[in-house]
C-alpha cells in the first residue's frame, strides 16, 4: 500500500468521524448517543438460558428476626457498608461497577420453587435487598406492585414505549443519550434513603432482553435498593390483558 492510499484511507476515516459527530450533535434526543456509554457487562458473554421462563425460580426475600442486642450491630454494619445516597452519587457517580455488594445484615435470599397456582404475594415480599441489584419477578408480583402504584420504568427504546407501555411507566431507555440525566432526576426525586427503599419495577421486551437489568444495575449503583425486574417484560403484560397506555406520556 503506497503513501497516497494510506493518506486517502485516513482521510476517509476522518471524514466519517466528522460526519458522525455532526450528525449526532443534530440528532433528536431519542436517536442521540452519549460519546462514552456505561455498559458494565460489555465484555461478558451471557449464559444461555435453557429452561423455559415458567420454571425460573423466583427469589423470596425473608426478614430474619433480629434480637434487640444485635439490632444496633446490624444497623451499624448497614451504615458502614452503605454510604449515604448523597455520598454515593458523589463517590460512585452513575457507575454501578464502582459499587460492591454489601452483605445484608438483616435479610437473606432464599430460592423457592415457583408455586403451581399463583397466590397473592404478601406485603413483606417487597423488602429492600441492598445485596443485589435486582430481583426478577413474574406477572403476579408485577401486577400487585402495579396496583400499589409503584414506580414503573420502561427500559425499551422511546419509540417502542410510545407505541404502548405499562400504564404509568416512565420511558428510561438505557441506549439513549439522556439516560444519565433521567437517572439523576430520579435520584433527585428520591434522594433520601427511605424513598430509595421504595420498590421500583423495570421491564423491557422479555426473552433475552437485558436493558431492564442494565438499568437496574445503574440505579443500584446509586443506592436504589429495592428494584424488581419484570423478567417476561411487556409482551407478557400484554398477554395477560393488563392496562396499557400508548403515547409519550406515562
Amino acid at each position: 500500500m503506497n503513501r497516497k492510499t494510506i493518506l486517502q484511507t485516513a482521510a476517509l476515516i476522518a471524514a466519517g468521524v466528522i460526519l458522525a459527530l455532526v450528525a449526532n450533535a443534530f440528532a433528536p434526543r431519542e436517536r442521540k448517543l452519549a460519546m462514552a456509554g456505561s455498559y458494565p457487562n460489555a465484555l461478558k458473554v451471557p449464559a444461555r438460558e435453557t429452561a423455559p421462563t415458567a420454571s425460573i425460580l423466583p427469589t423470596r426475600v425473608e426478614q430474619v428476626p433480629v434480637v434487640p442486642t444485635s439490632t444496633t450491630a446490624s444497623e451499624t454494619s448497614t451504615t458502614a457498608t452503605q454510604p449515604t445516597a448523597t455520598a454515593a452519587i458523589t463517590t460512585v457517580g452513575l457507575n454501578p461497577a464502582a459499587k460492591t455488594p454489601a452483605a445484608p445484615a438483616t435479610t437473606t435470599v432464599v430460592p423457592v420453587p415457583h408455586p403451581p397456582s399463583p397466590t397473592p404475594p404478601s406485603e413483606d415480599r417487597f423488602l429492600p435487598h441492598p445485596d443485589k441489584p435486582y430481583v426478577e419477578i413474574t406477572f403476579g408480583d408485577v401486577n400487585t406492585l402495579h396496583a400499589k402504584s409503584v414506580l414503573f420504568l420502561d427500559a425499551r427504546r422511546t419509540s417502542v414505549y410510545e407505541q404502548g407501555h405499562i400504564a404509568g411507566a416512565r420511558p428510561y431507555s438505557v441506549w439513549e443519550s439522556d439516560i444519565e440525566d433521567k437517572v439523576r432526576k430520579l435520584f433527585d426525586e428520591r434522594g433520601d434513603p427511605s424513598a430509595q427503599a421504595l420498590p421500583i419495577v423495570i421491564y423491557c421486551s422479555g426473552g433475552d432482553c437485558e436493558d431492564s437489568h442494565m438499568l437496574a444495575q445503574k440505579l443500584w449503583g446509586i443506592q436504589f435498593n429495592n428494584i424488581y425486574v419484570y423478567k417476561d417484560g411487556f409482551p407478557d403484560w400484554q398477554q395477560h390483558g393488563a392496562p396499557i397506555h400508548a403515547g409519550a406520556n406515562p
Binding site: V17, A27, R31, P46
Partner: protein, 152 residues
C-alpha cells in the same frame, strides 16, 4: 483467466455491487445509532467506552467507502476500508459462533427481530460466508487495481 479477472467490465460491476451493499448496510445504522450500539454491545467484544463511538463512526465510514466505490474515486482507499471492515466482521461473528453467543449481526437491520438461538446461529454462519464472498470481491478489485498500476 487473469485477463478476465482484471477486465474493466467486471471491475466496474464488482465496485458498484460492493458499494451498493455498503451504502444499504450503512443507512439503517445512521438512522438509528442507539440500536446499532445495542448490536455492537451484543457482540461482547468491544469495551464499554468504545461502543457508542463505534456505533456512531462505523456507519459513516461504511457509507463513504460505499460511495467512493460507486463513484470510482479513491478506489484503493475505499477497498482497503471495505476489506478491513469485512475482516473485522468475519472475526467478530466467528468468535461469537465459537462462544455460542447467538446474536443478530446488525449488518443490514438494527432492529431486534426476536429470532431463536438456532436461527441466529444459522444466520451468523450465513453472514460469515457472505462476508467471505464480499472479501473475494475486494480481492478482485485489488487484483484489477494492481494490474492497472502495472500497465501504467
Amino acid at each position: 483467466m487473469k485477463r478476465l479477472l482484471a477486465h474493466p467490465w467486471l471491475t466496474i460491476r464488482v465496485q458498484i455491487a460492493l458499494g451498493a451493499v455498503f451504502i444499504i448496510a450503512a443507512l439503517p445504522k445512521i438512522a438509528d445509532p442507539p440500536s446499532f450500539a445495542h448490536m455492537i454491545y451484543n457482540y461482547r467484544l468491544v469495551p464499554s467506552p468504545l461502543i457508542n463511538i463505534s456505533a456512531l463512526v462505523m456507519p459513516w465510514v461504511e457509507l463513504l467507502a460505499g460511495l467512493a466505490l460507486i463513484l470510482s474515486v479513491w478506489k484503493a482507499a475505499a477497498r482497503t476500508v471495505v476489506a478491513i471492515m469485512l475482516a473485522v466482521f468475519i472475526v467478530a461473528i466467528s468468535i461469537n459462533l465459537f462462544r455460542d453467543n447467538a446474536i443478530d449481526c446488525g449488518c443490514f437491520n438494527v432492529a431486534d427481530r426476536g429470532k431463536t438461538h438456532e436461527q441466529r446461529i444459522f444466520d451468523m454462519k450465513v453472514d460469515v460466508f457472505r462476508d467471505f464472498g464480499m472479501l473475494l470481491m475486494v480481492g478482485q478489485l485489488w487484483y484489477a487495481g494492481k494490474k492497472e498500476e502495472d500497465d501504467v
